[in-house]
């Protein structure tokens, strides 16, 4: 783990806390699922925390991200609050999307999160367009497009990489290579090399240890800076691992990956454990202080869960609201043509 001298302790501590917050969020979400309190299902980000945090800590609140079906981590890292997130997960009115989005569309839009997406690769165009918009409007914003290794099989990526490269757009394609897309190993679905694919469009590409939050943060900080100078786009392949199944219901998974492999990642490459160890080695936080962060976050999560469980569902009248901007109720509008 490589220290970045420009960072001060406060930054480190915030990164640690944010990683812990993601894990706590997911542990609670998993519990909500297992106790049948959460509708539908969800994809846990646990294990990949250093990616979201390392990247989002290199962005301002005005910078944009696009997220995925495995999007809780990005949402937390970009600045969202637990209360609105749990409300969203439970389909409650106070959720970020008023309960209309749920786990797969969760986003704190006010902090530059352009949305999680249930279409694999579906946000690649959106992210690139956000970068085009930023370039045209001259607002200096950078957009990070998160996606998985599996999403590299979507043709859309090549289309937008080509345009991003031609037009030098301030976008960073961040591929979280967690080794699997659903129940299939990456090697079985990706020929050749992912970095070479980006490079063939003239895009600079980097492979990074996605379990090392400082390494992720360092390279992202550099690339964001270069994007702002008009040197984008860039491609980052982040090697990481998801601890849980593909989704919360994917319990028996030995037919596609071994328990040993899982244990190995958790033991030796856990991003939180390792960063915590480093923080205490560097005397930035003591063991006790680390423990205090964990407990504070746990309490924050519990309070938010309790709140969300009691929060009201949206009113029935909401069902046809927000179909069209500027139209109160879509059904009246569609029947009569009156807004």
């Amino acid at each position: 783990m490589s220290a970045n001298p420009k960072h001060n302790a406060e930054d480190y501590i915030r990164m640690y806390r944010q990683m812990v917050r993601i894990r706590a969020f997911e542990d609670n979400a998993n519990q909500l699922y297992l106790s049948a309190k959460m509708p539908g299902l969800t994809h846990m980000y646990t294990g990949q925390e250093a990616v979201a945090v390392g990247i989002c800590e290199a962005l301002t609140a005005e910078d944009k991200i696009t997220s995925t079906h495995r999007g809780h981590g990005h949402c937390v890292a970009k600045g969202a609050e637990f209360k609105e997130m749990f409300c969203e997960l439970l389909g409650k009115e106070e959720g970020y999307c008023r309960g209309k989005g749920g786990s797969m569309h969760i986003a704190d839009q006010g902090n530059g999160n352009l949305g999680a997406n249930a279409i694999v690769g579906g946000s690649m165009g959106i992210a690139t367009g956000s970068a085009l918009s930023a370039k045209r409007l001259g607002n200096g914003q950078v957009t990070v497009c998160f996606f998985g290794d599996g999403a590299t099989a979507q043709g859309l990526w090549y289309e937008v990489m080509n345009m991003a490269a031609l037009w030098k757009l301030p976008v960073i394609y961040a591929c979280e290579n967690n080794g699997y897309s659903e129940y299939t190993k990456t090697a079985e679905i990706a020929a050749g090399s992912l970095t070479a694919r980006a490079e063939s469009f003239g895009i600079e590409a980097f492979k990074v240890d996605g379990q090392d939050v400082l390494a992720v943060n360092k390279i992202t900080t550099e690339l964001v800076e270069r994007c702002r100078k008009g040197e984008g786009p860039f491609f980052l392949e982040l090697q990481t691992y998801r601890y849980h199944g593909h989704h919360v219901g994917d319990i028996n998974r030995e037919y596609y990956r071994s328990k040993d492999e899982e244990a190995d990642w958790k033991e030796s490459r856990d991003p939180i454990k390792n960063f915590g160890k480093w923080l205490s080695e560097q005397k930035i936080l003591t063991e006790e202080e680390l423990g205090a962060v964990d407990s504070e976050v746990a309490a924050e999560a519990k309070a938010a869960v309790d709140y969300a469980l009691e929060a009201p569902y949206p009113n029935a009248a909401e069902v046809d609201m927000h179909v069209f901007a500027g139209v109160e109720h879509a059904l009246d509008y569609l029947a009569g043509g009156r807004a």
């Binding site: 509708p39 749920g102 043709g155 659903e182 037919y255 069902v319």
Partner: protein, 332 residues
């Protein structure tokens, strides 16, 4: 011999039987092999037929859909598995510009015998991109046949017919019905396309319903029976081709009709069926034909909202009572 099996098992059996019969058939899609799809519909097939005929793909819907078209043109009979019906948007070009038009554009020289199996159905709390019922947009395109099984029995018979058809066929399974059981004979059977099924005979009103809406219509019919209203329930089985005759004969008898489908109502399946009834049984109708599609909103995640968006038996009953009692509807 008839036993009760799930819709999922019925689909699995249909494919296995056909693959045993015809070595040119292969399955292609995401996580269809060892995983047997997330819904486990295809479990066991790769063990019997090997990875050469049960082919796991990358997440490249346009790509493997296009490959299926090319394979179908050259002596293979692919069955494409599209994990969620919502991904149909991604394969529209290959499905509608290529598969659907190849036979015609080639003057009948090339054939595209392929099946696109996918699903539909809301109320699974899967939100707007995993809950759509997109049969209407496919049914609009000449050159495609479209089947909508309403039970395990239907799913098996229609899928076997689809696999033997020399044209591209899209089949929509309701993902909420995968675990629903129904009696299915052990002996082989096929269900022809374009022959509607009169699920229940009745005198007073015709309920035309597709896929899982057949259950909704049957539940409504039972409640109406207690009211002394005798409802005939018709399952068209295929919406392309549509068995107009059976539907019209029923309406000529009952003089009233409600059409129920889980796709969005606006410009949806109910519009086609209702307008055909209104036009062609015009002189027999005692009341307006009522359409009941899904609400014209993206499917919301929240259970409190999602359940409001799909047609229910209670609402069918309410509408049926209204028109059967001669209440004026839209009489303004």
């Amino acid at each position: 011999m008839t036993r009760e099996i799930t819709l999922s098992k019925a689909v699995n059996e249909a494919i296995a039987e056909e693959m045993r019969r015809d070595p040119t058939i292969f399955l292609i899609g995401e996580d269809v092999a060892e995983a047997g799809t997330p819904f486990k519909v295809l479990s066991g097939l790769v063990e019997e037929f090997g990875t050469d005929r049960v082919i796991d793909t990358p997440i490249s819907e346009p790509g493997f859909m296009g490959m299926a078209v090319g394979a179908a043109m050259t002596g293979s009979r692919p069955i494409v598995d599209l994990m969620f019906g919502d991904f149909i948007y991604l394969v529209m070009d290959q499905l509608c510009n290529q598969a659907a038009k190849t036979h015609y554009m080639s003057g009948g020289k090339l054939k595209v015998p392929l099946v696109l199996r996918t699903n539909m159905g809301a109320t699974r709390r899967s939100a707007a991109q995993h809950s759509q019922s997109l049969q209407a947009i496919v049914a609009h395109i000449p050159g495609l046949k479209v089947a909508m099984p309403s039970s395990a029995y239907e799913a098996k018979g229609l899928l076997k017919t689809a696999i033997r058809d020399d044209n591209p066929v899209v089949i929509f399974e309701d993902k909420l019905m995968y675990n629903d059981k129904a009696p299915v004979p052990e002996e082989e059977y096929l269900i022809p396309f374009g022959k509607a099924n009169i699920k229940r005979a009745g005198r007073d009103i015709t309920l035309v319903a597709t896929s899982s809406m057949v259950q909704v219509a049957e539940a409504a019919a039972k409640i109406l029976e207690a009211d002394g209203i005798s409802a005939e329930v018709i399952d068209p089985r295929t919406i392309v081709p549509l068995d107009e005759e059976t539907i019209l004969n029923s309406v000529r008898k009952t003089s009233r009709a409600i059409v129920i489908d889980e796709g969005h109502q606006n410009y949806g399946v109910t519009a086609e069926i209702a307008s055909r009834i209104s036009e062609k049984a015009f002189y027999h109708l005692d009341a307006p034909v009522i359409r009941m599609g899904a609400m014209d909103v993206p499917v919301p995640f929240s259970p409190a909202l999602e359940d409001l968006t799909v047609p229910t038996a209670a609402k069918v009953v309410e509408n049926a009572r209204k028109i059967c009692r001669g209440e004026l509807v839209h009489a303004a």
